[in-house]
């Protein structure tokens, strides 16, 4: 068993170094002064694994918007489609703003349908809300030939709108087997569409959603049946995309902003600074406490705790975990649980030693026996964290927001603490104790 320890120490060392590398900021200014002269003044940049720590809205500032969708006019079976169409439309609008990493999700709970939009770093929320919350406008247009030669053709909006559409779906051409989009009109739309196609044979008929042309099919013939087919060189995804957009215009569900949280960037920065400072001070207290109370054992636990911190930070960057204030709380709690594993083991160790057994034997048994408690207790906590994190996106549990952020960092912290508390501390102790006994 002890022969393997050396190899394991190497593994621990490698993991530590890799996590240290990932944890470091991506850009490190290096300045070395010697006798008022600057010898080195450069900036180190990471080339590999240069992932950034992602901060939540409460830390970098931004807006969290909840829109309630009025789906009462839409039949139950079409609601899910209508919501995903709407989400799609909102995504396109948000992209117009050029916001980095927006997050848009659907949340349905007890008959209320909502769309949650997270906009990190947005300044002008008023404009964003107006644009995002607008009801989708779908219209058909005609191409007007220029009156004089040399002028550009213009578009004229017709009276055929999304309200005249029943729905649209993806179909397949019976001859070529290629994907196409089938559009169905209601009675009124049937009339309007028939007239429009008659007038525009062999001309394009642009379809406009939110002021953007999403398709401009050329009319082949007059269509009376109330069903139109848009064919072309679509891939299946393109056809689906067009169909979703048409549906968004066909079911213009209105939305209402029911909740908004906007945090200014300065307030967010203050929160980060204060939380980090508090975290560092708290962590130092814990390190000192462990060293004072458990001596050399405590120092080993402290090393384990620092490795815990490095691995956690790297995983936050790699996964990535969006860090929020409650998330920081989850992390702090997991630090407590990581320390707890060590305390359980050390108290056990003291008991065994008091019983007069040999130091190596005492070490091994205390790890083995404490493992039962650590495992049972942490599984119970993981269970709670799992329900709160709701990884399967069950609608009756929290699907977004602070509770989830907390649970994710807590669960991650417990997982890592099991590794550092058992594997890292144990092997480090084995190593130090063996070295110590060799010297005697």
């Amino acid at each position: 068993m002890y022969r393997k320890t050396g190899r394991r120490i190497v593994v621990i060392l490698i993991i530590t170094l890799v996590s240290l590398y990932i944890s470091l900021p991506n850009i490190i200014p290096v300045k070395i002064n010697y006798k008022d002269k600057s010898i080195v003044d450069t900036v180190l940049k990471k080339r590999f694994l240069a992932n950034d720590l992602r901060l939540g809205l409460d830390l970098i500032g931004g807006s969290y918007l909840v829109f309630e969708v009025n789906t009462s006019d839409i039949s139950l079976e079409k609601r899910a489609d209508a919501l995903s169409s709407l989400k799609d439309v909102m995504e396109k609008r948000v992209n117009l703003f050029g916001i980095a990493e927006p997050n848009i999700q659907i949340s349905s709970f007890e008959g209320r349908d909502r769309i949650i939009v997270e906009l990190p770093g947005v300044r002008d929320t008023k404009e964003a809300i107006e644009l995002i919350g607008k009801t989708a406008q779908l219209t058909f247009a005609e191409v007007v030939e220029p009156a004089e030669e040399g002028e550009e053709a213009s578009l004229a909006i017709t009276d055929l709108t999304g309200a005249d559409l029943i729905d649209s779906e993806v179909g397949f051409d019976q001859v070529s087997g290629k994907p196409m989009v089938v559009v169905r009109f209601n009675d009124e739309g049937k009339e309007k569409f028939s007239k429009l196609t008659e007038k525009n044979i062999n001309k394009p008929l642009p379809i406009i959603l939110d002021g953007q042309v999403i398709s401009a099919p050329v009319v082949q013939d007059k269509i009376d049946g109330g069903t139109a087919q848009i064919s072309g060189d679509f891939t299946l995804d393109e056809a689906k995309d067009l169909s979703i957009q048409l549906n968004a215009g066909a079911l213009p569900a209105s939305v209402e902003l029911i909740s908004e949280r906007t945090v200014g960037a300065t307030l967010g920065r203050e929160s980060v600074e204060k939380s980090v400072r508090a975290g560092v001070v708290g962590l130092l207290f814990v390190l000192v406490f462990m060293a004072v109370f458990y001596g050399k054992l405590g120092l080993v636990a402290d090393i384990g705790l620092i490795i815990f911190g490095l691995i956690t930070l790297s995983l936050y960057k790699l996964i990535p975990v969006v860090l929020t204030l409650p998330g920081i709380a989850g992390f702090l709690l997991s630090v407590g649980m990581a320390v707890d594993s060590n305390i359980l083991i050390f108290e056990r160790f003291r008991e065994e030693r008091r019983g007069g057994v040999n130091i190596i034997y005492a070490l091994e048994t205390s790890f083995d026996r404490a493992w039962d408690s650590i495992k049972d207790a942490n599984i119970a906590t993981l269970l709670t964290a799992f329900v709160l994190a709701n990884p399967l996106n069950w609608n009756f549990l929290h699907t977004s927001g602070p509770v989830r952020g907390f649970a994710i960092t807590l669960a991650l912290g417990i997982g890592i603490s099991l590794f550092t508390g058992i594997f890292v501390s144990r092997n480090l102790l084995r190593y130090f104790i063996r070295e110590g006994s060799d010297n005697k």
Partner: protein, 296 residues
């Protein structure tokens, strides 16, 4: 040490804390924030100091329904109102700009519709029921006895109820507000409480397997042997949280305090609520068995 001898004392203490919590909740109710009640909350920073009286009187003059104005953090002003639309939000900023506060910056804005709060509560209740059920099953299976599971869950609800009670008292006397973050603190307390209880249970199981003996002797031993660990572990968590209370930002201060109260309760309840329940349950069951056997 014979911890179980003092069971009546623990009972009195717990009953007292629960009664106090009930009293607080009924008398002062819970100071719910906009997350639950709906409404708006806007935080402004001013380059010069302004008085809260000036802010509230100038807004009231314009007909805004101002619920409260308070100074938080480094001289920022926090205003709570009934629901606000974009127009009135702009108007408020204008009005504040006319005060002698210099430059006004809106640093935080929260507006919550009335349907959000009930949804938050329901989802949290579902989450608590599911995790409590899961923990009950896990503990009962792990210790092959339902009473271990039930006692752990009862201790856990004991802690969370008293935490809610303390929030009512802190809310009335010190203006603590129950918000989204408080819910998180409550859930943390739930898991911490069980975590701590399982460690004591585990020791009970081990002693029973190795030495056997009367159940209350086993329980006493287990509590004595885990006491130092419990206290040391709590001390480390309390150190972290104290740092957050003292040095952390205003937005997390009450949150950290709630976690602190929860940690203390969770540590207390393991030896002094969960285990006494376990022992008492065993004794009562034993008595019933005896009576039943006599009759047969």
């Amino acid at each position: 040490m014979n911890w179980m001898k003092y069971r009546p004392f623990y009972l009195v203490l717990s009953v007292f804390m629960i009664a106090l919590s009930f009293y607080g909740i009924i008398r002062w109710s819970i100071n719910l924030g906009v997350d639950f009640l709906g409404g708006a909350m806007i935080e402004y920073s001013f380059s010069e100091d302004v008085s809260t009286e000036d802010v509230s009187s100038s807004l009231n003059e314009e007909g805004f329904d101002v619920a409260s104005v308070q100074v938080i953090g480094d001289g920022n002003i926090l205003i709570r109102l009934a629901e606000v639309d974009t127009k009135s939000r702009e108007r408020i900023k204008e009005i504040l700009g006319e005060l002698d506060g210099g430059e006004v910056v809106e640093v935080r804005y929260e507006s919550v519709g009335p349907s959000i709060g009930p949804e938050l509560i329901k989802k949290t209740v579902y989450a608590v029921i599911i995790s409590a059920g899961g923990i009950l099953i896990w503990v009962a299976l792990q210790f092959r006895s339902l009473r271990f599971g039930v006692s752990a869950i009862l201790a856990m609800f004991h802690d969370s109820f008293i935490l809610v009670g303390s929030s009512s008292i802190l809310g009335y006397f010190f203006g603590m507000e129950v918000d989204f973050l408080f819910v998180t603190a409550l859930l943390t307390t739930l898991s911490f409480s069980v975590h701590d209880t399982i460690v004591v249970y585990d020791r009970i199981r081990e002693i029973r397997r190795k030495r056997g003996g009367e159940f209350d002797d086993i329980a006493n031993r287990a509590i004595s042997e885990t006491m130092r660990r419990s206290i040391n572990n709590s001390v480390t968590i309390i150190l972290m949280l104290l740092a957050l209370v003292i040095l952390g930002g205003t937005s997390t201060r009450w949150f950290a305090l709630a976690l602190l109260v929860g940690t203390v309760l969770g540590t207390y309840s393991s030896p002094f609520v969960a285990v006494p329940l376990l022992v008492t349950w065993g004794e009562v069951a034993e008595k019933f068995k005896r009576v039943y056997n006599k009759k047969v």
